[in-house]
């Protein structure tokens, strides 16, 4: 009879391997039809902007008109993607949300937070800007509208995301490459 501790140990090991495998399978982000997408490649030489949202994060939702307006404003130079990091959200949940908030932007699911990690994003809503060479030049808040959850300025006084897109478009360095946002943590979804 094998000793019980050994058995338990090998079972634990096996489990770890399985987890790692399933994480591998979901490494890449998926579009709403379930196809893996690399948004940096898909940007085809344009600046890529990833905006991370949670459907249950009211701060994310209040930004919908701002995000949509920014995407329209920079449609010639930047490709915008909405990214949902909640593994429990189905494509139809996301479609319904996009419809409600009148988004006309492509959305990706990022269930393993692979995109979030490569974009250094920790909170929703935060955005990441990749320049034409695919380098991460900015990650963080859209602007300073929110001071804390439940407390917002009458209007933002800084516009970090917009500034970063402009700098990337002009090939200039971004003044502040990382400014944390206010909202809901991605780590709470793990």
């Amino acid at each position: 009879m094998a000793s019980p501790p050994r058995n338990r140990c090998s079972a634990g090991f096996l489990l770890t391997v399985l987890l790692a495998l399933s994480a591998m399978a979901q490494q890449s982000a998926l579009d709403l039809d379930g196809k893996p997408v690399d948004p940096l490649k898909a940007a085809k030489g344009k600046i890529a902007v990833l905006v991370f949202l949670r459907r249950d994060c009211p701060v994310s939702s209040r930004y919908a008109p701002t995000i949509q307006a920014l995407a329209r404003k920079f449609s010639d130079t930047a490709t915008f993607w909405l990214v949902d990091p909640d593994k429990n959200d189905s494509p139809s949940d996301i479609r319904a949300y996009l419809d409600q908030y009148q988004y006309h932007l492509p959305a990706l699911r990022d269930p393993a937070h692979a995109l979030a990690k490569s974009a250094h994003v920790q909170i929703t809503p935060e955005a990441a800007v990749f320049n034409r060479a695919g380098q991460l030049v900015y990650d963080g808040r859209i602007d300073d509208w929110f001071i804390e959850v439940g407390r917002s300025r009458p209007a933002p006084t800084t516009h970090e995301l917009e500034d970063a897109i402009r700098a990337a478009a002009a090939g200039q360095p971004v003044a502040r490459s990382e400014v944390r946002g206010v909202g809901c943590y991605l780590s709470d979804l793990e």
Partner: protein, 606 residues
């Protein structure tokens, strides 16, 4: 730094090891075994008690907190907002005078939540989980006796600044009713920050609607009243509010023709929202036996805050002329308000903090009810002390860069108000209504405080007039008119008081000023007609009554007076038709009855 890093690495190696079934080693290694904080045992009771009433479907909060997985999905966020005391939303500091339904986490509860998140937010043993909280669905006090629904919904745009909207609810009752409880259902609770009912007994607010039934915008509203009938109840909704029936004997009176005005603060959500509030009324057959009233301390006249000023202090101190029980308190300032304090100094010098909010936030303003009524004897001075921050350091500053800000009704203006719901006690009812004594003392206080305050003089005058002190009232109306010579309301009131005092000749210029400044002002034309007719100037009175009738075609008083003037100038046939019309509207219209009989006698004798 290096040492620390090594230490961490060792720890994580240990954790990895424990996966391989080494719980024994772990207990041996930990010197003081503090039990692990678990959701089921430690966190669920806090969440169920202090969060779930709003964090559940259909309520104000943006997501539910009813189960382990709900809470786990927001664990770190909950740790942040509880540590910052942003949530649950409760602004006052702890104090000896307790409030009812205090929603404040203890320091122990807050640190438990931090530890739980730091320890990995584990669920714990199923047997530790307390029963899920039970909530009443729908109307909280059962089916209301009368449900009022806003005639038309408001469409709230997806973005923009906060919106302040007033919905008007006519109350379809045919006789006076007594209300023991009111439940406000503000529409979609997620987008309504707070809502406040004002009682409009004179239909004054309807005139402000561009289209009937749609309501009107504005953060602060003023309702004119014609007799002494002070506001008495603080009818307030904020997220999580459970309606509380009024104390025994303190029902709210509603008369036929009364409108309820729901003043709402709405916040855009990112998408278009449809807001259609309703109000549930619960009646009682018991008329009010105790008459509370709302006392307002304020000092808006002192609000002239220079740009950049960080600590602008405004105070007001009012000494009570009678004994009262303080039931509830409602401080109000706008976005520059920072530190809000109210206290009472008793005749023996004892100082009691009534409320202290060190970090004011208009978004979470609320009415605070005391757990027990607070007895404030006659001679107690009630004080407010508000501090405002008009610097760049105040992120809520509506102006960027800061600008000079003065008192006013717009949300970008500032306010310094404190409402107290008080119940007069130990009074001698043979000396009249104790609320009148309070109101008069307050009006005198306001005039002394700000001699150039138009409203203070006007309100004191109205109070004196209600107490039949006509000469003193006229002097105060005169002071008001001197401050605002073009104000139609004050000119009309002065004119009406002069007519009542037997000086129609002196009244006429003020009434003319009122009707010239406000040509659609029914009262001014009506009173001018009366003044002129009293002077026997019937041909001049005639057009004033005709105009008044055009402005209010269903007023029996105007019909009767118009008939009387016509009869005086010999136009009997037309006079008769107006008397008859007056009696159709109001069969008890005395003037019309008498004059019609006189006219018929005269016609038959001819």
């Amino acid at each position: 730094m290096k040492l620390r890093r090594i230490h961490v690495a060792t720890l994580s190696a240990l954790t990895a090891l424990s996966l391989c079934g080494a719980p024994l080693a772990r207990t041996q290694n930990s010197p003081s075994p503090t039990p692990q904080v678990t959701f089921n045992r430690d966190i669920a009771p806090v969440i169920f008690h202090s969060c779930s009433m709003c964090h559940r479907p259909g309520e104000a909060a943006p997501f539910s907190l009813l189960t382990y997985s709900d809470v786990k999905r927001h664990a770190r966020q909950i740790a942040d907002v509880t540590r910052a005391r942003t949530m649950p939303p409760w602004l006052p500091e702890p104090q000896p005078l307790k409030f009812a339904d205090e929603l404040r986490l203890t320091a122990t509860e807050i640190s438990l939540i931090q530890r739980w998140v730091d320890d990995g937010a584990v669920e714990g043993a199923a047997s530790d989980l307390p029963p899920a909280p039970k909530f009443v669905e729908g109307w909280q006090l059962g089916q209301p006796d009368l449900i009022l629904k806003a005639a038309k919904p408001l469409t709230l745009p997806p973005q923009g600044t906060d919106t302040y909207w007033n919905f008007i609810f006519p109350v379809p009752i045919q006789e006076t009713k007594w209300v023991k409880a009111v439940e406000i259902r503000p529409g979609d609770k997620r987008y309504v920050h707070h809502a406040n009912i004002l009682v409009d007994r004179y239909g004054a607010s309807r005139k402000r609607e561009a289209v009937p039934g749609t309501g009107f915008g504005g953060m602060e509203i003023r309702i004119e009243s014609q007799v002494f009938d002070p506001d008495s109840h603080l009818l307030f909704w904020k997220p999580g509010t459970v309606p509380v029936p009024e104390p025994e004997g303190m029902a709210l009176r509603l008369d036929k023709g009364t409108d309820l005005i729901l003043n709402t603060h709405l916040q855009p959500s990112g998408k278009t929202e449809i807001i259609q509030p309703s109000i549930g009324l619960y009646f009682t057959s018991q008329p009010a036996t105790k008459l509370p009233m709302l006392l307002q301390l304020e000092n808006d006249a002192k609000l002239d805050i220079p740009a950049g000023e960080k600590d602008f202090v405004v105070t007001d101190d009012f000494t009570l002329p009678i004994d009262v029980d303080l039931m509830a308190i409602y401080p109000h300032a706008h976005y520059l308000g920072k530190d809000i304090q109210a206290f009472a100094t008793l005749p023996d010098g004892t100082k009691k903090t009534l409320i202290h909010i060190p970090n004011w936030n208009l978004n979470w303003q609320a009415v605070y009810r005391y757990a027990e009524p607070v007895r404030l004897p006659r001679g107690t001075t009630v004080s407010l002390r508000y501090t405002y921050d008009n610097s760049e350091d105040n992120p809520l500053n509506p102006n960027h860069p800061p600008e000079r800000v003065v008192g006013g009704n717009r949300s970008s203006d500032e306010m310094c108000h404190l409402w107290l719901q008080v119940l007069p006690v130990n009074f001698d009812s043979t000396k009249g209504d104790p609320r009148m004594m309070l109101q008069e003392a307050l009006a005198r206080h306001n005039v002394q405080k700000n001699p150039a305050d138009f409203e203070a003089h006007y309100n004191l005058a109205a109070m004196l007039q209600a107490r039949d002190q006509l000469d003193a009232a006229i002097a105060e109306y005169e002071a008001a008119v001197k401050l605002r010579p073009n104000d139609a309301t004050a000119n009309n009131a002065l004119g009406a008081a002069l007519v009542a005092a037997g000086h129609p000749d002196q009244a006429i210029p003020y009434l003319r000023a009122a009707s010239n400044n406000h040509p659609d002002y029914f009262d001014a034309h009506y009173n001018l007609g009366i003044a002129l007719a009293t002077q026997n100037d019937f041909s001049a009175a005639l057009p004033e009554f005709r105009l008044a009738l055009r402005l209010q075609p269903h007023d029996a008083g105007v019909e009767a007076n118009l008939g009387a003037v016509l009869a005086q100038i010999g136009q009997y046939a037309e006079a008769k038709s107006h008397f008859e019309r007056a009696l159709q509207i109001d069969p008890n219209q005395e003037l019309a009855k008498e004059n019609l009989e006189a006219l018929q006698r005269q016609m038959t004798s001819h």
